[in-house]
Amino acid sequence: MSNNKLFGLIFCLMFSAGSAQADEAQLKRGAHVAVEVCNTCHSLKYLKYSDFLKLGFSKAEVDAMRGTKGMADPLISQMAPADELAMFSTVPPDLSLMAKARDGGANYIYAMITGFYTDAKGQTANHVFPGIKMPDVFMIAQADAAGRQGIEQKARDVSAFLEWASDPQAEERKTLGRYVIGYFVFLTVLLYFLKKKIWKRLD
């Protein structure tokens, strides 16, 4: 492979990598679902209320979300773990890293939330997570077509939000990465010509 082709390939990789980005409006909608629904039972302990400012929420909006909790407080579940254990016979897992902790990431979360159905015995079951102890919070198993659409949208939003929550630095990382890779491509091209120049002395 010629060097030009190689560098072309690297440039392509550089600018295509990590292009799929959830838009800010979706992340905000997802944040509302997470705080108002998920956070009832699940903690997101690696997130602080102040982190919502990074999503573009105003301070007033965050104040409304946090209620009596402090700006620097982590998102701990509304229910006490002991009550949860009594109610669900398990403590719901923390969600801050959920999008990284399952193969499939956000897609897994979406499939799980929308995966509830009513089985032959008339009980609620889940396609993705058989034996799940979480109730069908959006009641998708009973929803009609129109209701389903709304729930699927909510599931998409909250999945996108949880992906952001699992890796809030992703945007910064990719931006910095473009500069760093660009720098190294430039440096490597220079080193290539310098190498050619130095080795010419042997001719």
Binding site: Y46, S96, K100, D103, I198, L202
Partner: protein
């Protein structure tokens, strides 16, 4: 400046050292980029040590705090995510570079006389590296960390008589727990410096026997060129290419080598569906699981790593240049490489049905390659000598054969 250097030179061989090891150090001019991987390995070692030192400033080796402290590094420490991803990706980069370095040695027969000690110090480095990586993997205290350490320390149960005591002693308790974490952290910090010292020994051995080269013959003086500036610049260009690939992963695919299950905190009460080691241990793990008996599997796995040390004696051909002039050795090399990749795939999946059988066959091929080599290499030597070789290569081979027969 010159005065200062002269002052130092009277007391320490600085100028001599620079001349002897760099500006005058004779290096075969025909070394390809495959010879640059040793330098890359050294560079990655430095990356790992530097990033590791900074991680240790923020990490907490306590089973109740370890997992959270990694998230603290990822989210709250300035550029903590960068330091951590450089380190976690660096571990994989280190193994990728070292395995390539070893493959080059095997392909070109660089382990042959007089480079046996150079090869053995490299083998020692590989063992140190594996131990360091294994202990480092426990530190994030995720599910895979915990259960990986549990499975691997359990292997020492195969030790005759004292098996259980040794496992308890390694873990500092009856199960992997806080004492295991603290001792692994301590040793994970120590070992890189042992590696650093072992690299120095590796380099002393290298500079005694000098680099092998792809032609297989000892080059005339005119074909040796000073290491600096020719190979410093060649290695630096290679480093540039390496850094681009490495940093693409660090910045754009940093979770590539992190198992999803390791983002779940360690839970001694719940075994993950499938315990999979890091990719660089997979072929050896597949060998371990392909032998039905625990002790047998452990011995097979240990031999599969250590057997490389025997290469100078298993390969009995006197034809130099490694695989280049040896069609059968070359075929064996490629079969072996493919075999390792298949073993890696097998190691990543639960051993059942066909895959279990594939693992067993590949394990057999792995060991047969080494077992057949002494016979195949002698037979091949006769074959290629009869078929004809480049005069310089043939002369070297005949000289070595004559020397060996003179000794008999």
């Amino acid at each position: 400046m010159n005065k200062i250097i002269a002052w130092v030179d009277q007391r320490f061989p600085l100028t001599f050292f620079i001349k002897h090891e760099l500006t005058d150090y004779p290096t075969p001019r025909n070394l390809s980029y495959w010879w640059g991987f040793g330098f890359l390995a050294g560079f990655v070692l430095v990356i790992q040590i530097v990033t590791g030192i900074f991680l240790a400033m923020h990490y907490k080796p306590d089973s109740n705090l370890a997992f959270d402290s990694v998230q603290h590094i990822m989210r709250e420490v300035n550029y903590g995510w960068l330091i951590r991803y450089l380190h976690s990706t660096g571990a994989s980069a280190f193994f990728a570079v070292i395995y390539t370095h070893m493959a080059r040695t095997l392909y070109y027969g660089s382990y042959r006389r007089p480079r046996e000690l150079l090869w053995w110090t490299g083998q020692g480095l590989l063992l140190l590296m594996m131990a360091t990586a294994f202990m480092g993997y426990l530190l994030p205290w995720g599910q895979m960390s915990y259960w990986g350490a549990t499975v691997i320390t359990n292997l020492f149960k195969a030790t005759p008589v004292y098996g259980d005591q040794i496992v308890t002693w390694l873990r500092g308790g009856f199960a992997v727990d806080d004492p295991t974490l603290t001792r692994f952290f301590s040793l994970h910090y120590l070992f890189p410096f042992l590696i650093f010292a072992a690299v120095a020994i590796h380099l002393v051995a290298l500079h005694t026997v000098r680099s092998s080269n792809p032609s297989g013959i000892n080059l005339a003086d005119k074909d040796n060129i000073p290491f600096h500036p020719y190979f410093t610049i060649k290695d630096l260009f290679g480093l540039g290419i390496f850094m681009i690939v490495y940093l693409l992963i660090v910045f754009f695919k940093p979770d590539l080598f992190i198992d999803a299950a390791n983002n779940i905190p360690a839970n001694p009460m719940q075994t993950p569906a499938d315990i999979v080691p890091e990719w660089y241990f997979l072929p050896f793990y597949a060998i371990l699981r392909s032998v039905p008996d625990l002790a047998g599997g452990v011995v097979a796995m240990a031999i599969s790593v250590l057997i490389f040390a025997a290469m100078p004696y298993l390969d009995r051909s006197r034809v130099t240049g490694g695989a280049r002039y040896r069609p059968i050795y070359r075929a064996m090399f490629y079969i072996f490489v493919i075999d390792i990749f298949v073993l890696g795939y097998v190691g990543a999946h639960p051993p059942a049905g066909t895959l279990k059988m594939v693992g067993e066959v590949c394990t057999a091929i792995y060991f047969l390659t080494f077992l057949l080599l002494p016979f195949v290499s002698r037979w091949e030597e006769k074959f290629v000598l009869a078929r004809g070789l480049p005069p310089a290569v043939e002369a070297m081979a005949r000289k070595e054969i004559a020397e060996a027969e003179g000794n008999v």
